[in-house]
């Protein structure tokens, strides 16, 4: 286990190095110019000022030098300064990551639990009306783009029924100290719902397939022959055999979740990491963009890593390995 972890850690470090080099090279090859990002379209900077600026930010150096000075600063915990917001990148990421994390966490949990239960229910009742309804629901949702789903929810629940606000994470015009937890929850529901609805379909369909395999296995036929009820079969064989692939799938879903949150946040003007990354990319804010890319890849890596550990924790056969 310890050895495994060390290898994993080495892998993540090389992954991050590779990723940062790749991002740096891609950005360097793109026409994005940090000078434009900083000055903006309306600036009236003279050539002397631009030279001064380039020297200050080090963009007059070669890309290799730039990479090493950036990486050197990063090793000391300095992610650099955002050109767009003119504040340290790490501060922006921190404030946005917390909102994103709550959003993704909830969506992740809901889609995992509900998806698993629906998948189970469908498999246990294969061919019956309940299975068909779940299948129909899942197929429909799987083929629905997430931003479209978000817009539909927005039109129905925010504009039509006025049950939920149209966007943002806090009520407008209310001072920070007066914002209640309920207010935050109220603003949180629609984006979280959007994000989880689609995850549910994925998980349900995978679980259903896996469960059907299990139900066709000989040990289940034998259990039936012994006279075990559906519930007993589910409890003794279904859960145990289907939970491992479900967990792997669920944690590997981190990456997709991140992509989905980007769109959901955009639709609901929810200030998370995804919408910030979009802005940083579009406006050419390189330090912020690289920062978010690194953090999010760590996040996705952590998902896979946790899945591996949990597989061992949950599986009694692997107990000795820990």
């Amino acid at each position: 286990m310890a050895k495994n972890t060390v290898i994993r850690m080495i892998r993540v470090v090389t992954l991050l190095i590779g990723l940062s080099i790749l991002t740096f090279s891609l950005i360097h090859l793109s026409p994005m110019d940090p000078v434009n990002a900083y000055i903006g379209g309306d600036g009236s900077a003279s050539p002397e000022q631009i030279e001064k600026f380039k020297e200050y930010w080090g963009v007059d150096k070669s890309p290799v030098e730039q990479y090493f000075s950036w990486a050197g600063a990063l090793l000391q915990g300095n992610f650099g300064t955002s050109m767009l917001y003119r504040t340290p990148v790490i501060d922006i990421i921190q404030s946005r990551f917390v909102t994103s994390l709550a959003l993704m966490g909830t969506a992740w949990l809901l889609s995992g639990v509900i998806g698993y239960l629906l998948g189970m229910a469908a498999a246990m009742n294969r061919g019956k009306i309940i299975d068909r309804i779940i299948k129909w629901y899942s197929y429909t949702l799987v083929s629905t783009p997430i931003f479209w789903m978000g817009l539909i929810l927005l039109i129905v629940f925010a504009v039509g029924l006025e049950w939920f606000p149209v966007g943002l994470a806090v009520p407008p015009g209310v001072m920070e100290s007066d914002v209640r937890f309920l207010d935050r929850l109220h603003h949180f529901v629609l984006p979280a719902l959007t994000l989880s609805i689609l995850g549910v379909a994925n998980v349900a369909m995978h679980t259903r397939e896996k469960m059907i395999d299990i139900l066709n296995a000989e040990y289940v036929v034998f259990a039936k022959a012994r006279g075990e009820s559906d519930w007993q079969i589910f409890k003794y064989h279904g859960i145990r055999n289907s939970i491992l692939p479900a967990i792997s799938l669920q944690f590997a879903y981190f990456g997709e979740l991140f992509g989905g949150s980007m769109l959901a946040e955009q639709v609901f003007a929810y200030p998370g990491l995804g919408s910030t990354l979009t802005t940083a990319g579009l406006k050419g804010d390189l330090p912020l963009m690289v920062g978010i890319i690194l953090i999010s890849s760590l996040f996705v890596f952590a998902g896979n890593f946790i899945a591996d550990i949990l597989n061992k924790v949950v599986d009694p056969r692997m107990k000795g390995a820990i």
């Binding site: 309306d42 003119r86 925010a158």
Partner: protein
């Protein structure tokens, strides 16, 4: 993330797994969650005297209240006061300065300051604060170019004296844009605690979500009726949704949303000087130049031919372009400054005249000899690329409509949507959907003077005309606004030459965008002056005159 499963018993593993995750989520949520408050008053609760407004007029959080970061640049700002201000008739009047005077050589500007001005923390605004602000911005030089300022001195009697190294009549515009910051409280964290002396003060800024302003109790001017303004930082479609859900009092709408009906709100359209046109390189290809400090290729063999540019100016039908690109919500533009006090009305032409355009082309040697619909001259086809910012719907619509109309004249325009970064790299070799228009004439100089060639993104067409340069310099060095305006007009067209469409046409101005808002029926926005560039803040110049009528 610490998930350590080894100490768990087998049966409880799942339970703890769930619990760990819930706690982890709860912590995530709690970091942003404030303590539960007893305050149950909702922001939308109707009150008898409405003194709060919720506005969704765009993503206006650039610059974050710090002039060094661009706050106030080209925009009206409610938070800061400046030495001068612009009134509804576009006159430059005193704000923090009671008045101003310029010496005969136009080099010494004197501003006696008002004595009753205070910052939002109650401390007085002194001449030292003004001196500090201008020196700080001059030193920085990125957002405000003050390189022509020689010295800023504090004189007796609460007076500021600014000495210029060279005369500059358009300095007045910067005097209206630069918000004064307190010397004692200004540092790199100013954005977090922006103490300022405008009619409103920032009480809260939720990163990427909203800005809450409250009226500044120490404001020296007329008290606004609305004590609190909440700006929601929403995109246009989300803003419209907010209006439909009754969450906002004013929302900005792009022309495509102008026919949307929202109960209790009506459409307000305001003429602006926000102009759009086509930038056309005026030199043949092969040279090198600079854009934003980077060496780039310059020149285009087709657009550098005057006949092409003049033909487009008279041949394009501005009304049709308006109808297509703006659904009619705009005005024709002929110069960068239509209807401003420095606008030369002689530059207005009867446009959409295909015959006249073809004649200009023919006289210039551009004829369609092989009947492919595109004119040629010495084997060169009248064909060029036109770049537009692909994230800008208006510029993209306008470019396509221009290309369509140009085919009638025998000119083929290939429209290409790209990012601004790419436009800055390639823009000097092709046409670009360009924009501009301010409450001051400085852009006439920066876009057309040969002295501004290769500086930043100024004079993109690399345009050079000795006569125009002479007029622009005289306008810039004039000691009164009246004298300056006279030369601005001559630079556009003096009867023989000029930078306007009937002259050399380095940039053909086509239309001005109307700023459209959906506003609550009961809200009276008073008499709005012609709006400047930027629909976000343009509306708020006269906020102290706004009223709510029950």
């Amino acid at each position: 993330m610490n998930v350590n499963g080894s100490s768990f018993t087998k049966s409880s593993t799942l339970f703890y797994l769930g619990l760990t995750l819930s706690v982890f989520l709860f912590l995530g949520g709690c970091q942003t969650a404030a303590p539960v408050s007893e305050n149950l008053i909702n922001a939308q609760k109707p009150t008898t005297v409405k003194d709060e407004l919720v506005l969704a007029i765009g993503k206006l959080d650039g610059g974050q209240f710090d002039p060094r970061k661009g706050w106030g640049m080209t925009q009206i700002r409610l938070t800061h006061s400046s030495l001068l201000a612009i009134d509804a008739d576009l006159n430059f009047v005193g704000d923090l300065a009671k008045s101003y005077s310029i010496s005969n050589d136009s080099l010494t500007w004197t501003f006696p300051l008002r004595d009753d001005a205070k910052f939002s923390n109650g401390e007085p605004v002194t001449a030292e604060d003004v001196k500090f602000t201008y020196e700080m911005l001059k030193e920085d030089g990125i957002k405000f170019d003050l390189s022509f300022v020689k010295s800023i001195k504090v004189a007796d009697g609460n007076t500021i004296v600014i000495e210029l190294g060279e005369p500059r009549s358009t300095f007045v515009s910067q005097l209206t844009e630069i918000g004064i910051v307190p010397k004692a409280h200004y540092d790199e964290h100013y954005s977090q605690n922006p103490i300022s002396s405008g009619p409103y003060k920032v009480v809260q800024y939720n990163d990427g979500q909203q800005i809450i302003l409250e009226s500044n109790p120490y404001w020296y001017g007329n008290k606004p009726q609305f004590k609190k303004l909440t700006f929601l930082l929403l995109e246009e479609d989300a803003a419209l949704a907010a209006a439909k859900a009754g969450e906002a009092d004013i929302v900005y709408v792009p022309p495509t949303f102008a026919d949307q009906k929202v109960a209790g709100m009506n459409l307000r359209a305001y003429e602006s000087i926000d102009s759009r046109g086509i930038m056309l390189p005026t030199v043949p290809s092969g040279g090198k130049g600079m854009t934003n400090g980077k060496e780039v290729d310059i020149g285009n063999d087709v657009t550098s031919d005057l006949a092409i540019r003049k033909a487009l100016n008279i041949g394009l039908d501005r009304q049709k372009l308006l109808d297509l690109a703006l659904d009619g919500h705009g005005q024709k533009a002929f110069c960068l400054c239509d209807n401003m006090p420095w606008f030369n009305e002689k530059t207005i032409v009867e446009d959409g005249n295909v015959e006249a355009a073809r004649k200009i082309l023919g006289d210039g040697g551009w004829l369609d000899t092989n009947n492919d619909g595109i004119a040629e001259k010495n084997g060169l086809k009248a064909e060029f690329d036109m770049y537009f910012s692909s994230s800008d719907q208006l510029r993209s619509d306008l470019s396509l409509a221009v290309a369509d109309q140009a085919t009638e004249l025998g000119i083929k325009i290939n429209t290409i949507g790209v990012t601004w970064d790419e436009i800055y790299l390639k823009g000097k070799t092709a046409a670009v959907a360009w924009g501009g228009g301010r409450h001051h004439p400085h852009q006439l100089y920066s876009m057309n003077s040969s002295q501004r060639m290769n500086q930043g993104i100024d004079n993109m067409p690399n345009y050079q005309n000795a006569k125009v340069d002479e007029y622009l310099n005289k306008a810039l060095t004039a000691s009164t606004q009246e004298e300056a305006n006279q030369y601005w007009k001559l630079a556009q067209w003096d009867g023989a030459t000029g930078f306007s469409g009937i002259g050399d046409a380095p940039i053909i101005w086509l239309l001005r965008v109307d700023h459209l808002y959906l506003a609550n029926e009961k809200l009276n926005l008073a008499k709005q002056p012609v709006h400047t560039h930027g629909h976000e803040w343009a509306l708020f110049g006269n906020i102290t005159e706004w009223t709510w009528e029950n």
